[in-house]
Symmetry: C2
Subunit: 457 residues, 2 copies
């Protein structure tokens, strides 16, 4: 039975990629309101495809923000389990545009990779699942499992409306387990199951000084400089040993066990210097870079601006300076509490003569961990290994997927995180791409997996 499905996928590689390219060509950037219509277009693309495959009850559910695509397939019968398949069709902004080698929304294949914003995160991976469903319907006339589809358009802006939907429409979205492909392998060709994710909280703050930009000669010496004040604040958040110096930040954090340290050490490591071009890695004192990225909390400043940024010199004391920051959290840290600790810290450290304006990032997520010995997880690992011909490793990662925490807390079902990205995909960066080999072997993995779990109920 598996063979016909795999043959269909192999024979239809070109038309499938062509179809994926149409999906990737839509600039569905959710954070920027000028792309509102594009985001709608991407939702329609997903809904149209699901209809075409033969899903029932395909709905574009409106939210206060961007729409969510819902669909159901119940043709596998009551003996088969029901999977909640989650993904997102929105993407990160493409800027800085000048650093792309090809247009971010005109997909292009180079050296076995498909280049486009969203190729890996998450349109490419969402598309793989739909293509597998198409293959089953075209060859077997049915799917081996029942499926509830939930593809949202707000993941890159913190899934602002998803929690409410999942909570209020509990019966509609209920399933035996969830499956999500929005992550990656630790190395090319290395099957990887994610068993832990970090939480997330964020904040934007502005240091306000004079009511306008001032002449630095006339006022320098009488007025506190907002950029220097901002620097004092940012400096106070983290030391050169990469320890967050916000009081209480590490309270309640479980330290990594010796077993987990060995476990992390066994995961093939990414060559950070080669991949990112940095001169040396840095990490929290007492932890390796791998331990820090996977299992220790972080605080990063994501953007900063203030004063004159154009060509040449402008001799001013600027009226304000702004920074955007986010924290990645681990089990034991409550996102709202950490956000408040950062706010308290900034208020305590703001220099005299300037004032502080805060803008809390409204959405947040708690960190997540699942038992790697659950049969649904073990079978995923087995299918993954079979398609890629290599033993699967289990890792925790620094990324945040709020929906994982929400599905767990609302539905209390196992969540299978089966990702097919690679470290070279450049998620959120210029020249994002997806390895075509993973696209193909990933679909193979999914076919094996549906055959493994169809009788699990």
């Amino acid at each position: 039975m598996t063979k016909s499905v795999l043959t269909y996928l192999e024979k239809n590689r070109d038309p499938l990629i062509e179809k994926l390219n149409a999906f990737l060509s839509i600039p569905s950037v959710s954070t920027n309101s000028i792309h509102k219509e594009d985001v709608k277009k991407a939702a329609n693309f997903v809904a149209d495809y699901l209809n075409e495959i033969g899903f029932d009850q395909v709905e574009i559910q409106q939210t206060k923000g961007h729409p969510l695509v819902y669909a159901e397939y119940n043709g596998a019968g009551k003996q088969a389990p029901t999977a909640l398949f989650y993904g997102h069709y929105d993407v990160q902004p493409a800027d800085p545009l000048e650093l792309w080698d090809s247009e971010p929304f005109q997909p292009e294949v180079r050296d076995g990779r498909l280049y486009a914003r969203g190729a890996s995160d998450d349109k490419g991976q969402v598309f793989m699942h739909m293509a597998v469903f198409e293959a089953y319907m075209k060859t077997e006339g049915k799917l081996p499992i029942n499926v509830k589809v939930c593809i949202e358009g707000e993941e890159e802006i913190g899934s602002e409306n998803l929690y409410e939907i999942l909570e209020t429409k509990k019966q509609q979205f209920e399933a035996d387990f969830a499956i999500i492909s929005d992550s990656g392998m630790v190395a090319d060709g290395q099957p990887t199951i994610l068993y832990g994710l970090k939480g997330f909280t964020g904040l934007e703050f502005t240091v306000k000084g004079p009511n306008r930009d001032l002449h630095s000669g006339m006022y320098g010496g009488a007025v506190r400089n907002p950029i220097i004040s901002l620097s004092h604040l940012l400096h106070s958040l983290k030391n050169e040993e990469e320890q967050v110096t916000v009081e209480g930040f590490y309270d309640g954090v479980e330290d990594i066990t010796e077993q987990e340290r060995r476990f992390i050490a066994d995961v093939p490591g990414e060559d950070y210097q080669k991949v990112t071009g940095i001169t040396e890695t840095v990490s929290e004192k007492g932890y390796t870079a791998k331990e820090h990225t996977m299992a220790r909390p972080t605080l990063e400043v994501n953007g900063v601006y203030g004063g004159y940024q154009g060509e040449g010199t402008k001799t001013i004391i600027p009226s304000s300076a702004t920074a955007k920051l986010t924290c990645r959290l681990v089990p034991g840290q409550d996102p709202n509490h950490i956000q408040q600790l950062v706010i308290d810290h900034l208020q305590k450290h703001v220099p005299s003569g300037v004032t502080l304006e805060m803008k809390r990032e409204p959405l947040s997520a708690k960190a997540y961990k699942v038992d790697p010995n659950h049969p649904l997880i073990e079978k995923a690992a087995k299918s993954y290994s079979r398609a890629f011909g290599k033993e699967t490793v289990y890792v925790r990662m620094g990324g945040s997927i709020p929906v994982v925490e929400w599905i767990e807390s609302i539905y209390n079902i196992p969540i299978v995180l089966l990702g097919f990205g690679t470290p070279e995909d450049k998620l959120h960066s210029p020249n994002e791409s997806f390895l075509l080999d993973n696209f193909n072997k990933g679909m193979e993995t999914l076919v094996y997996y549906w055959e493994e779990v169809k009788n699990l109920k």
Copy 2:
């Protein structure tokens, strides 16, 4: 003889303002190359006016950058002194545009003030001199003194080509003294002679981290954040007591004498909080804000940028972060030496894992001080007092006019700094304006002054 000139100026107030408005309407922003043609237009305006008045040898001298307008008047005869009249027709950028109440390049009179970029700095003040020359020619048929005119288009970008011109064309520009109106009064209606200016040096530097923006979840914990690293560097330059913490920065600086402290205390002070809207003034430990702005060196960060600056959140570690800084210097500090000290300091303090790229601001200026008892200065003070009906005060100021230092070093002649701006002019800021009362009384001052000095030779 004076009366007919003053009457002419009074009767022609409206047409003169109309003509000044045409000058102010040209967006001659020298720092931004998209305004190159506008800068040329402003040079043509000045040259046309000088021709119209009856100057000889009106030349638009091309430079590697923006042109300089030169003209001569020798009709006062050999017994009269020759003044070198310096000014600039270029202006600062108008941004942020949204903070202007009227268009920066569409002059508008409100409540006795003329609002436009350059109204005070320096087009308005340059125009006053030309209007006075016009009045003399139209009424007396001649000027009381000989004049060499030097109006440049690069003052706001550090007068990049002026030094070479002044040095190589020494004979052409030679004069008995120089007169410059590119400064202001310490308070409305308070005649003010500037006897000291600060020097200037600048630097732009970029902290470079990864070769692209990185996903903060995947790389946070392994990669040094360039914005936080930049903050460590900026934090290290100045402490909360407003002392510059660059090693050697204060070496050779003469401290303010007790006499000068009393002198500064006697100058009517600006209400910094009222004028700038700050919550409190801050100044170098041991000095008042007035002392610090007038007579102590400063270091300011003029602009900063890095990472994501758009709407919403982008969870990245940015690839780089940049800051622009400038120092205002006092006698005893060499600009190139100070620039090098800052560079050495930054290189010494840059955190591991990131690299530093420096861009030296190519132009600089030494601080300047003149003897306030020189007859040319005393007569300026007398004329000023006569026009405004109040005793003149003598001050040092934080602004830098590199040309002052250059004229002194190349020509070794007295320089009369006779400025008519006010503290409310908002130089370099949105809503720059010029007090029309000062425009009129300033021209009166100039007429008295020419009568005072015409026999001084």
